[in-house]
C-alpha cells in the first residue's frame, strides 16, 4: 500500500522515510511524550489520593519525586527504543552511581531527611519556625532544603539534614500562645499587692485571654528585687500587639500604684582614692596659638 506512495516521492525523501533510524527516533519521541502525559496523570491521581494526608510539604516532594523518577524511566525506555545497549549503560551507571553516591552523601542525607520530615510534618508552608536562632516563615520546602523568609525579608536556606538534627520550634503550630513577662519590684513592696496588680493588668488587657488563665507567680528573691512572672495567653495573631501593650500598661499601672521597679545605678569613681574627679580650668591663654 505504501510502496506506490514512496515510489512517487523524490528518491532522497523515500530513502529517508524508509530508514530505520527515523522510526526509532519517532518511537523514542512518542515514548517521551507518552511519558510526560503519564507523569502528569500520575501526579494528579497521587495528589488526589495522598494529598490530604501528606500536607503541603509532602505534596511538593511527592510531585518532584514522581516527575524525576518518571522522566528517568521514560528516558531509559526511549534510549532502549533507539537501540542503545542499556546493559552497558546501566552497568556504567552503577559504577558511576557508587562514585556519585560517595560524592553526594550530603545531598542524599538531605533527601532522606526530607522524607523523615514529610512523615513527621513538624511544620507546614506559612508556619513561623525557629531553627538555630533563626526565625522566619516557611517559604518553600524542597527535596534538599527549606527556605525561611525572615521577618526583615531575608531568605535563609536550611538543609533538611539540619532540620532533622537540630531543635526546630514551631511558633504558630497552636492557635494560642503565652507571652511571658518577667518583672522585678523593690523589696519595700507588698508581694500580695503586686500579685493583685499583675492580675488586674492582665484582666484589663484586651488581647489577653480570660481563659486559659494568666500565670502570675512570685519567682523569688533577686539580688536587688522581688521577682514575678506574668504569663498572659493570647491568640497567635494578637501576640505582637500583646507584646507591645502589656509591658506598657504594667509600667503605667505600677507608676499609678507607686510600685517601684529597681534598676542598677552606675557610679563613676576616678581612680584609687575614690576622691572627686579632678577638674582643670582652661583659659584662653592656655589654648595653643592657631596658624
Amino acid at each position: 500500500m505504501t510502496a506506490p506512495i514512496l515510489a512517487a516521492l523524490p528518491v532522497w525523501l523515500s530513502n529517508f522515510l524508509e530508514s530505520e533510524v527515523l522510526w526509532k527516533v519517532v518511537g523514542a519521541t512518542a515514548i517521551l511524550l507518552g511519558g510526560a502525559i503519564t507523569i502528569t496523570i500520575l501526579n494528579r491521581v497521587a495528589l488526589r489520593i495522598f494529598g490530604p494526608r501528606l500536607g503541603s510539604q509532602g505534596v511538593m516532594v511527592l510531585k518532584k519525586l514522581i516527575r524525576y523518577l518518571g522522566f528517568a524511566f521514560a528516558c531509559i525506555l526511549a534510549l532502549n527504543q533507539i537501540g542503545l545497549n542499556l546493559g552497558a549503560i546501566l552497568g556504567a551507571a552503577g559504577v558511576a552511581g557508587i562514585a556519585i553516591g560517595f560524592a553526594a552523601q550530603t545531598s542524599l542525607s538531605n533527601i532522606i531527611s526530607g522524607f523523615f520530615l514529610i512523615g513527621e510534618r513538624p511544620f507546614e508552608l506559612g508556619d513561623i519556625i525557629e531553627v538555630d536562632g533563626i526565625s522566619g516563615t516557611v517559604d518553600t520546602i524542597g527535596l534538599l532544603s527549606l527556605t525561611l523568609r525572615t521577618f526583615d525579608n531575608r531568605s535563609v536556606r536550611i538543609p533538611n539534614e539540619t532540620l532533622v538534627k537540630t531543635n526546630v520550634t514551631n511558633v504558630t503550630r497552636h492557635p494560642i500562645r503565652r507571652f511571658n513577662l518577667e518583672v522585678g519590684v523593690a523589696y519595700d513592696e507588698n508581694i500580695g499587692h503586686v500579685l493583685s496588680v499583675l492580675r488586674d493588668v492582665s484582666e484589663k488587657n484586651l488581647q489577653c485571654l480570660d481563659e486559659p488563665e494568666s500565670l502570675i507567680i512570685f519567682t523569688g528573691f533577686g539580688d536587688s528585687s522581688l521577682n514575678f512572672r506574668l504569663g498572659a495567653w493570647c491568640l497567635q495573631e494578637d501576640y505582637g500587639i500583646l507584646r507591645n501593650t502589656l509591658p506598657r500598661e504594667l509600667k503605667e499601672r505600677f507608676d499609678e500604684e507607686d510600685i517601684e521597679i529597681p534598676f542598677p545605678h552606675m557610679t563613676l569613681a576616678a581612680g584609687k582614692a575614690l576622691g572627686p574627679i579632678p577638674v582643670r580650668m582652661v583659659t584662653d591663654a592656655d589654648k595653643p596659638e592657631q596658624g
Partner: protein
C-alpha cells in the same frame, strides 16, 4: 439607645449622628460616597443630631464607601458580636436534678451600617458598641476564640439592670440528669439568634437547654420564635445571622451551636 431602626434618606452633603451606649456614630453622604465616623462619649458634646457637612468638626476621622449619584437610602441595624460568647455568672449556681434555672444574659450589641449602593442596601460596616475581652473555648491545641462576659447573667428581669446597648438573651437551663449540675459558664454561638425591639430595648429569641448526663446525646437546645415575657410581643428587626432553625434540626446541629461546660 437608637429609637428607630427604620430605613431613612440622607441627601447629598447631609449627615446625622446617633448614639448607642458609649458609641457615637456619624453618617455622612458626600460626593459619591458614604462616610462613617465614630467617637467616644464626651467628645463633641455640642454636635447637633443632624446637619450640613460644614457643621461637622474637622477632626473627625472617616471611613468611606463608594456609591452611586442617586443613592440616598441608609439603615442602621443592631447585630450580635462577631464571635461566640462565654458568659460566666459571678458565682456558680448548682441546679438540682430535674430542676431548671432561667438566666438573662446581656450581650453588648454592634451596629451595622447599611447604605444604598446601586441596586439595594449593602452592609458597609459593623461597629461594636463596647470592646469585649477575649477568651478561648477549647484546649490549648484546638478550639475557638470567643468574647467573655463576666457579670451580666441575671436570674430576673429588672429594667434598670440593663444597659441600652445590651441585647437581652434568655437561657432556660433544665437539668435532666440524676446529679446536681454546677453551672459555671455558658458558651453561646449567636448565629441562630434574631434580634427584636421592645420598648426601647433589644431582645433575642429565647432558648432552652436540656442538660443530659449522656455524653453522646449531648445537651439539647430549642430556640423559641420570640423573646420571653415581658418582650413576648416584640418586633423582629434583624434576622439570625446563620438563619433560624427549627426544633428538629436543632438536635442534630446542637454540638456546633451551643455548649454548656460544667
Amino acid at each position: 439607645m437608637i429609637q428607630s431602626w427604620d430605613e431613612r434618606d440622607l441627601a447629598q452633603g447631609r449627615w446625622f449622628r446617633t448614639r448607642m451606649g458609649p458609641l457615637n456614630l456619624a453618617l455622612l453622604r458626600r460626593h459619591d460616597e458614604w462616610r462613617v465616623s465614630t467617637w467616644e462619649d464626651g467628645e463633641f458634646p455640642e454636635l447637633p443630631e443632624e446637619g450640613d457637612r460644614q457643621d461637622l468638626p474637622a477632626s473627625l476621622e472617616w471611613e468611606r464607601w463608594d456609591c452611586g449619584d442617586d443613592d440616598s437610602r441608609v439603615r442602621l441595624l443592631p447585630s450580635f458580636p462577631d464571635l461566640p460568647i462565654i458568659a460566666k455568672p459571678t458565682t456558680s449556681l448548682s441546679i438540682a436534678p430535674g430542676g431548671n434555672a432561667l438566666f438573662y444574659v446581656g450581650i453588648p450589641s454592634s451596629i451595622e451600617v447599611h447604605g444604598e449602593c446601586g441596586a439595594g442596601l449593602r452592609k458597609l460596616t459593623s461597629i461594636s458598641t463596647e470592646t469585649l475581652s477575649k477568651t478561648w473555648h477549647g484546649d490549648r491545641s484546638e478550639g475557638e476564640p470567643c468574647y467573655s462576659l463576666r457579670t451580666r447573667a441575671r436570674r430576673h428581669f429588672e429594667p434598670e439592670d440593663w444597659l441600652g446597648h445590651d441585647i437581652i438573651v434568655t437561657v432556660d437551663l433544665y437539668n435532666e440528669g440524676g446529679e446536681p449540675f454546677k453551672f459555671e459558664r455558658l458558651f453561646l454561638d449567636l448565629g441562630h439568634f434574631s434580634i427584636f425591639a421592645h420598648e426601647g430595648r433589644l431582645w433575642s429569641n429565647a432558648c432552652r437547654i436540656r442538660i443530659s448526663e449522656d455524653e453522646e446525646e449531648g445537651n439539647d437546645i430549642t430556640y423559641e420564635p420570640c423573646p420571653l415575657h415581658p418582650a413576648a410581643d416584640a418586633t423582629e428587626i434583624a434576622h439570625a445571622r446563620a438563619g433560624t432553625t427549627r426544633h428538629s434540626s436543632l438536635r442534630r446541629a446542637f454540638s456546633s451551636v451551643i455548649d454548656v461546660i460544667n
